[in-house]
Symmetry: D2
Subunit: 384 residues, 4 copies
């Protein structure tokens, strides 16, 4: 009988990151994939990842709407509570052999608590990294609930072991997001027009001569400043006066500040060099990055995929704090002038060399194999 | 303005453990106590801790019924989910400066998730200990969410630091349960009749010549064997044929097996040396232990209070696995013969010497002072 | 394509009542049965209806644990809230064409709210009856949410129409419980030994010479008196000193008083003529009634099945207040002496004649046909 | 001791409607007001009624965030489930003598279920009206749960009685919204500039020479057409080419279609005669209506307050279907041409005469007095 592997996807970026692992699980002869889609991955205003997932040919075993409205911290907590309540029922009905939770978004704790409390072996993807905000509390907390750890770098592996986890169950598989990135490194040029294909709103800049990509999320511990933070970036990009493709933020406490900041800036300024997107097929997004002048913001894509792809990154603020990085990243504060300085430095430098700090592109394959072969365990004790 | 300290009590044993800290917070000139009572602490069949709490003179700021029926693992997960959902509302309405969560019962995770997600500084009492079951996952997971750590032993302190917590916020206060124990070490004899005062069911053994106390909880990772486990203890105590005062187990996955085992054994055997209690005032319970021949089971009381009180303990099975202990404990497996051998060894040995491995009796006082003085922080990063 | 009919069963007695409709739906060529089992139907201490359901060969599409512990009124409300939350997810995933809710237990409101809010046509079985407690509020309230009404008597039909429902969608199918009863009217004698087959606890009365059956539930508006109420019945049956087969009550606010009353009476009295059961296969239960001297209590079985079977009933208190009844029922107050008088009257009278006030035994068949043929509607307006 | 009256406000329009009753309760010597604010009344994007409430000097006893994101029907059901779960806790902690629920929005069912299940006497304001969509199911369903009925018209009173409610507890108090309307009938002219005072977005039409007000909500049973519906109104008002003050819709399933329709129309058309508002102080809103040329849309304000104020109304579609109305209303379909014809007819006719079909302006006062004097009951039986 096949092992039933239940993967819970709660957000668009998590799906992009896990996609090759999902395919590898689905295609593994000894595994059956049970895909659960929940939280913002189901919602229109965060890009309806669920539609992409279905278009990609994955069957969905259950959908769970659990995002409580408010976009404040109370809502984040309650979303997690509802998630536990409902995922418990889902797990009880699907009866999986292993549950997989991805990374460190607040609502992934729901998957981790439900599975570990129900004595279902829990695999955690991308533990051990350091970023210095609520994500970090969540990430390490999930590490202490998880039975298997599929980490993305040597640095992360060391840290998970230092946290007292059993070395038999800690594996540096690299990040599955690199698997996707690997597929597009040979594309000589952008093979689609992003505005035609994805719509969005804003101006119609000429991207033929190069363009920047921006993706900046609110930081949950700095909610009250999210509007100021986004404005510094908006001003910098506006002053740079070159084509900009801008992506809307995740659902997170603080997104209102970020969104409001963007809307208000648009109303007051003539942004004909800016175009705004809600979401994009992950592969297209990577192509877009690969052929861009660089990525600006605080997305982990800048740290991971861009390291492998050799794309320059202006990493703003604290969100990616202590994550291992390649030499493609320039770190700056929330500051128009620092951002501008970094953009100019990138413009004048050669393209960074590719780095395998987050893996070599076979993470999905390794993860599926491990899920098929590891003994099923849910009882552990700390090694410290 | 006084700091508002919100303590969430979810079970009878947690209340006993935290009581002196509650009093110290209540009486501290710079603190205001916001006491929330939830989960099994509200339920009749787990001894209605809430009534004791009110009788002890504490005002209750909010009650939250969140125990989902089932006494299986799914119910434990769902209880935790409901807890997060509702405690978020409670915290939003009470607006505390610090939230305090106690120990490692599954539902304490609800307090920890709600507070940490809402950026309310979280204090955790009794982290860092090792027991080797789901409690341990919960305990270390809460450590990674908590901002302040008030641990109960040097061993625990070392482990919390090893987990990468900031040394400025890790304190070995000792266990507040020892504060209570300290109050009764001078009582020359039992000053109440437990059956008269607390009712209960079963025989009416003559405890004047000595008696044993039993308190054995189901172990969440060994649910299917909980009935077998309790039967070995029942058989051993039955064969010993001396007065036994037996306490019903906590609400936990597996309690049905334990309860059913006890009920069924009672129906089939003449247990006139046994008397069964649902609960007891914490101080009376300590007196009962202090004057007993010894405690049998897997309660942490055996490891903590009994160390300080010098009460012999037969500790059964894995539940207290790797917790630091005094020299009062004999560890045995779920085995009638091993239990009997331990009982005989105790009967033939002198009373153990008191140990301060879990503190010297001023933990509540230390905790209140720290809560009044520590800077309010909710942002942390791992030191590893 | 077959119509998907989702039936939500939340309690053991509802299952007994609906069973023939479930079979008829399952076997109908144009229907697909989606059976959801929830609430006390999943719980051990209410007789695990779920096991009977599976043994009867029904496939379960989803299980939902939603009983909040407390057995008080707050818990009943919260159980309903959790039910709505989770059943919405279940309906969203199963995507039924019609949802069926049964009768008037408090938690059936969850089915009704979830389905009607999601614009899924809702069929209500057994609306229109009158009992005069919270069940009645629930029942009529569900009538106002439901799109189709399958009522059990002419009296009920008149009332549903008087409530302003569209006559095109109100049908007196009779009660499906009568379908079951019809199957056993020809059994000449009890063909099983209830104690051997179902265990239970208590004495071993000799039932060969006749026996009484007791089934008495707490009444939600009279919670505080539930213990007194059950004690009158216990005393009466004790004084009668004839074999008694006693069934434990439903999960309801007040069950604790009822259960405690029974336990305490057992401890204080020698009840060797009493045997207690948790539950029984519905068919066996009907056989047991059919061959009994009579039923005592407040179960609706006395009003319905016993009318058809011609079994004498002592109906105690307010719970079945204004329900239509055959001539088999003697109504009494919560009073030992009134109960005893009724028992004696029954002992001295001939067996009542069968009545079809609750239908002729083809309700399940009629319901399935209607579900297959009715137009799918979820929009209505009051006719008043 | 004062009677504790707990009123649950879940949306901006409900607050406007109930405001004078809240004041009358607050000021009544025998009553204590416990105000609970929940659901969309707490959310920014529905106009933060909570801020208005606090500014108006009401103290809030508890806030409950329970709106599940999705703006689809599943989310409406789940919002109600979460509401029950949390309001139960709130009621358990506040311990009110009476709970008051307002009108017929889907989430008001949560208040009704929680209170009635907890045996707290439930007062329902504005039952008995007919509109012909899910609101109607909810409204009549709440009538069957409620113990006291404070209805707004004779027509509604007749219907509540026809539903089998006890005449002793059914009162035509008129609608408290008329109380507010009464306060402004003597204002000779608009005493504030709406755009200056309330901001909003859009053009800056000259309203000195008259203006129209539009308020059109999605209809829950016609979700898929909500975009088409709003577009007909947009086109009509655009073609009319006179100043329009337009209010955003409620949070309801379908709001996305309505909102998207408005946004998209704005992007494609030059709407310099339109100005859009999120919300307005209720009194200011009434003044705005009183001095307008007329109201267009499907808000119940058109049926109620505008009847009393003598403001012409173009009532579009099915939402106010069978509600009693004054002679100020012209009913039309979702049709540009019908709307235009009605606007022209209004422009050419004299102002309608004031009607007291929804009361004479002392509803709040009557309601408070009844709440102080009615016997406390929660047990009822149908009179049919």
């Amino acid at each position: 009988m096949k092992r039933k592997i239940c993967v819970v996807v709660t957000a668009r970026p998590s799906y992009s990151r896990i996609k090759t692992a999902l395919s590898a699980i689905k295609n593994h002869p000894d595994l059956e994939l049970q895909l659960v889609v929940a939280a913002s991955a189901l919602l229109d205003r965060y890009g309806s990842a669920v539609q992409t997932i279905e278009r990609d040919g994955f069957q969905i075993a259950a959908k769970v709407f659990n995002v409580l409205e408010g976009e404040n911290l109370t809502a984040a907590a309650k979303t997690t509570g509802i998630g536990i309540l409902e995922l418990s029922t889902v797990f009880d009905n699907l009866n999986p052999d292993v549950v997989v939770t991805i990374a460190d978004r607040f609502e992934t704790m729901a998957t981790a608590v439900a599975a570990s409390y129900m004595n279902i072996p829990l695999a955690h993807i991308q533990g051990g990294e350091v970023t210095g905000n609520i994500d970090e509390k969540v990430r390490h907390s999930i590490t202490k609930l998880a039975d298997y750890h599929f980490v993305a770098s040597e640095d992360a592996k060391k840290r998970v072991l230092a946290l007292g986890e059993n070395p038999d169950y800690v594996f540096n598989t690299g990040c599955p997001s690199i698997d996707l990135a690997k597929k597009i490194v040979n594309y000589p040029s952008l093979d689609f027009d992003p505005i035609t294909k994805y719509g969005g709103v804003g101006g119609d800049p000429n991207i033929k001569q190069g363009y920047w990509v921006v993706m900046q999320h609110p930081v949950t511990t700095e909610v009250s400043q999210s509007r100021h933070h986004i404005e510094e970036s908006l001003k910098a990009m506006h002053e740079m006066n070159q084509p900009v493709l801008w992506f809307w933020p995740n659902v997170d406490a603080g997104a209102d500040g970020t969104s409001t900041g963007i809307r208000s800036f648009r109303e007051k300024n003539d942004l004909n060099q800016f175009h705004f997107f809600k979401n994009m097929d992950p592969l297209d997004f990577l192509k877009l990055l690969y052929h861009s002048k660089g990525l600006i913001g605080n997305s982990s894509v800048g740290i991971r995929e861009c390291a492998f792809l050799g794309v320059p990154v202006v990493n703003i603020g604290t969100r990616q704090n202590r994550r291992a990085r390649g030499n493609n990243v320039i770190d700056v504060n929330y500051s128009k002038s620092e951002i501008l300085a970094a953009l100019r430095s990138i413009s004048e430098s050669p393209r960074p060399i590719s780095s395998d700090v987050y893996g070599g592109g076979d993470a999905g394959f390794q993860i599926a194999n491990l899920l098929a072969e590891l003994p099923l365990v849910y009882h552990k004790t700390i090694t410290l």
